[in-house]
């Protein structure tokens, strides 16, 4: 029951977005803006045009079905609430990506989708495989995200604005800029990693570790389309240049062909679908690379048809897995009798996938052929497209015949039809695919036309029809279907040959990724062993020496040492002299102390002496803090001292001389630094500013405190957060069970070891 209630939220969103259809189809756009960081030209602004509306409808519409389906699919899983929360969180992030009008806002939402995807892939986090796949997806899309951020910032600087519609006007000057190529490469890196283009595709099959409703939603219908959306959105800004055509067509066509080929070698239903999704994403990227109005039309129609049929097929695969306990196509069979509704959903989806009229997939394929045929390299491009589609048809045939019609093997469970909540999704998506084909003119006028105009930014009217008459495209379509069926029939005999020609092993980016990851961990290990050796005294030594040498180097090279004035502006007062003497005596006693308590006590004297100096020179706040910290340190030590062993060994003479030299040079350098600062006091407006505004703006007479809690309150917030995290760290280190206590909580300790 709960799943139906929760699904009301995405359903309401779907209706909300649907209410925009008449206006957007009429060529209008809509904008909403909330100021975010106005000083940096960053707004939380949203923009609805044909392209973003189409995406938003797909996201919220399919999201509704996924929530209903997932509620049933994971009904027995205690983490079902996590599924709802993460899926809805992802949906908001994804809607943000497609509706964002500001580049930075778009990037933030983009990263949020990566993070929710990470959490959802690792949903079954008790399995190492799921954790690894989640990390892999996060690292690949995350590094692409970094590149994208760099690209977007450059784009914003070159174009003079972070506002996407404003950038549309600046396209010419951006494309002439010398930074155009870096921008393009960086943006493409972001798009290609997200949309699983070769050679970054390997995370997507791994992502199939996620629960199937998640795969259906994120890893076929929506998130992986974010990269495609980005290319479409930026087509008017970055598109149309030779570099764009070469790079985008190159990656897209390689991906669509190779992935379709690899898909046929898989035996796991979800992996077949995953590689076929990679291939479809390649097709979309390829079409956007071609970039002609016809190609863009093909991209839009194919995007819709793919989201409908692939989302549906994933749900079918999930139902099959749920009912039979296996996803192995060689084992499955005969499900058309036990699962008739699911079978109908599968027929509608695979029909669209294979491009059978009157389903929308047929129109998509026709338009794609029409687009490639008018290109200058028509023979090559059309050839690649036809070949890819043949392989896709073969996969579609396989997806119907193996699980539903062939004879079944030994199934772990005996299958029954799923409840309404699980067959509703595939059937509804299938019917939508059918309706979009049958009512092609209405589909074209209400959705496709506005989306195309959103991509090209050159408004044009579109006529879409199911039937184009007897022409070349139809002939190619028939050849494709026939070729696909033939490939399926001879697949059994082809497989040994295909396994020998395993492109996926030869060009295995997954192996490269693993090697890089292992290498990184090795370097981290080595440097940790080098630096984190566990001897407190050496830590102090390293810190002091490196600080002293860096500061000393800067002092010598960047400043004029002769300008330091040694004459004091005031003469030394008696009590200052006494204090200096006291500190010196304390240091002398401290370095010769034979007990820990004595050593700590003398350090306390030194610290309190320094605090007194602060007080003499007009920094009471600093002095008070110093007093309190000194007291705390001594008390803390007293509390802990009972547990420490007595000092047994004293440092040898050489070590003492070394330590003395290090300490002395550090002292000399710090003294020189302070003298330097005093001698060449920089004219600073800050002091005046704080002094002037502390009372009227900050309502306080204590400037130090007003700076801490008001003017620079953000810094303080960060500092106390760091303090809190540090305390957690200390707590974890001290309270964590040691080796003897491991039996108390073995798994938790292992997790800490991995950290």
């Amino acid at each position: 029951m709960r799943k139906w209630l929760i699904a009301l939220l995405p359903l309401a969103l779907t209706f909300y977005f649907a209410s925009f259809i008449p206006a957007i189809a009429g060529g209008e756009t809509s904008t909403a803006t909330i100021e975010w960081i106005p000083s940096l030209d960053i707004q939380l602004s949203f923009y609805i045009d044909g392209l973003s509306l189409l995406m938003a409808l797909i996201i919220s519409g399919i999201g509704t079905l996924i929530i209903i389906y997932g509620g049933e699919y994971l009904a027995k899983d205690e983490r079902l609430p996590h599924f709802y929360i993460l899926t809805l969180l992802f949906m908001s992030a994804m809607l943000g990506v497609v509706l964002a009008r500001n580049l930075i806002a778009l990037f933030i939402f983009w990263e949020l989708t990566s993070i929710t995807s990470f959490l959802l892939i690792g949903f079954k986090h008790e399995y190492e495989k799921a954790r690894k796949a989640a990390l892999q997806a996060l690292l690949v899309t995350g590094s692409g995200g970094l590149a994208l951020l760099a690209g977007l910032v450059l784009l914003g600087l070159v174009g003079g604005s972070f506002d996407i519609p404003t950038l549309f006007q600046e396209a010419k000057s951006i494309q002439k800029d010398s930074l155009y190529l870096p921008i393009l490469v960086l943006v493409l890196a972001g798009a290609f990693t997200k949309s699983a283009q070769m050679p970054f595709h390997f995370w997507l099959p791994g992502a199939m570790e996620a629960p199937t409703p998640v795969s259906a939603y994120l890893h076929s219908a929506t998130m992986v389309k974010a990269g495609v959306y980005l290319l479409a959105r930026f087509t008017p800004i970055l598109g149309g240049t030779p570099e764009w055509h070469t790079l985008v067509i190159g990656f897209g066509s390689a991906t669509m062909l190779l992935a379709a080929y690899i898909a046929l070698q898989q035996t796991d239903l979800k992996r077949i679908l995953a590689f076929s999704t990679v291939s479809a994403l390649g097709t979309l990227v390829f079409l956007l690379g071609v970039g002609t109005p016809l190609a863009i039309k093909g991209a839009v129609i194919f995007l819709v048809s793919h989201s409908l049929y692939k989302g549906g097929l994933f749900l079918v695969a999930g139902s099959i897995d749920h009912e039979t306990g296996t996803r192995d196509v060689n084992l499955l069979g005969n499900l058309r009798q036990s699962m008739p509704f699911t079978f109908v959903g599968a027929i509608l989806a695979t029909g669209s996938m294979a491009g059978i009229p009157p389903l929308v997939g047929f129109i998509a394929k026709e338009v794609v052929y029409e687009a490639t045929l008018e290109e200058s390299a028509a023979l090559l491009l059309t050839g690649v497209a036809v070949l890819t589609n043949m392989l896709t048809v073969a996969a579609a045939v396989l997806l119907v015949i193996r699980p539903f019609i062939n004879k079944a093997g030994e199934l772990p469970k005996s299958p029954h039809e799923t409840p309404l909540s699980m067959w509703l999704g595939p059937i509804l998506l299938g019917i939508l695919g059918l309706a979009a084909g049958v009512f092609a003119p209405a589909f074209g006028a209400n959705f496709v036309e506005a989306a195309i105009n959103g991509i090209t930014q050159k408004p044009k009217t579109l006529h879409l029809a199911l039937w184009h008459g007897w022409n070349t495209m139809l002939m190619l379509s028939m050849i494709t279907v026939a070729g696909g069926v033939i490939i399926y029939i001879v697949l059994e005999n082809l497989l040994p040959l295909m396994h020998r020609l395993r492109f996926n092993d030869v060009l295995s980016p997954a192996t490269a990724y693993q090697k890089m990851l292992d290498g990184l961990l090795k370097v981290a290990d080595a440097q940790t062993r080098l630096l984190q050796h566990g001897y407190l005294r050496r830590y102090v030594l390293v810190i002091v020496i490196s600080t002293a040498s860096l500061v000393g180097y800067t002092l010598v090279t960047l400043t004029d040492l002769a300008s330091i004035q040694f004459e004091a502006s005031t003469s030394v007062r008696v009590y200052e002299g006494l204090l200096f003497f006291l500190i010196m005596v304390a240091i002398g006693v401290g370095i010769r102390a034979k007990s820990r308590i004595a050593a700590v006590a003398t350090l306390g004297v030194v610290g309190n002496g320094v605090a007194l100096i602060f007080l003499f020179y007009g920094a009471p706040d600093l002095a008070m803090t110093q007093f309190a910290v000194e007291t705390l340190t001594v008390l803390l030590f007293v509390l802990a001292v009972y547990r420490l062993p007595l000092i047994k060994e004293y440092s040898g003479k050489r070590v003492r001389i070394r330590d003395g030299l290090v300490a002395a040079s550090f002292g000399i350098i710090m003294t020189a630094l302070i003298l330097m600062v005093i001698s060449s006091a920089l004219p600073s407006n800050l002091t005046n500013f704080f002094a002037e505004y502390s009372l009227p703006k900050g309502k306080g007479r204590n400037i130090v405190n007003v700076i801490l809690v008001d003017f620079r309150g953000f810094d303080t917030l960060a500092e106390i957060t760091v303090l809190a995290v540090a305390a957690l760290g200390v707590y974890a280190l001290l309270k964590w069970p040691t080796n003897d206590e491991k039996h108390a909580n073995p798994t938790a300790t292992q997790e800490l070891d991995q950290l």
Binding site: P620, D621, M624, T625, A628, V629, T631, L632, L635, L636, V638, L639, A640, Y642, R643, G698, K699, G700, R701, N702, V704, N705, V706, L708, V709, D710, G713, F714, T716, L717, I720, T721, L723, A724, A726, A727, L728, V730, Y731, L734, K735
Partner: protein, 138 residues
């Protein structure tokens, strides 16, 4: 864990010192905006009070006196600090814009920076006590 000091003088003195120090820490916190003091120093002084108590009476008594775990104190303090920044959001200002009330009897002006300082105060106490109790009970 019994690691309390066996000293009559200390334990007698501490019964008077701890409440005084705690009062003093609140005093420091409240005056901080106009005179030397503030949440950070105040928090440290309060932590000193609890540490003295721990030396004299042992850590279990400190936990009793505190009633809540120091880690929770950190969380509450952080929440207050962030919350004081959020107040501005509700009236349409950016995060952490300071807002001030008018003159109130006894308290004077109350503003979001003062609430923020209370958060700092609690975080500092929580952090020091977390470390202290963990070390002493180790």
């Amino acid at each position: 864990m019994n690691n309390k000091a066996q000293s009559l003088i200390l334990s007698t003195a501490i019964h008077y010192l701890v409440p005084l120090l705690l009062l003093f820490s609140v005093f420091l916190l409240m005056r901080g905006h106009n005179e030397p003091g503030g949440g950070f120093t105040g928090g440290l002084v309060a932590a000193v009070a609890f540490e003295l108590y721990a030396i004299s009476e042992g850590t279990p008594k400190v936990r009793q006196l505190l009633r809540i775990k120091p880690l929770e104190l950190i969380a509450i303090g952080l929440a207050i600090a962030v919350g004081s920044g959020m107040i501005g959001l509700f009236v349409g200002d950016p995060f952490m814009t300071s807002l001030w009330s008018g003159e109130l009897p006894l308290l004077g002006k109350i503003g979001t920076p003062v609430i923020f300082d209370v958060g700092v105060y609690l975080v500092v106490i929580g952090v020091v006590l977390t470390v202290m109790l963990a070390l002493a009970e180790e």
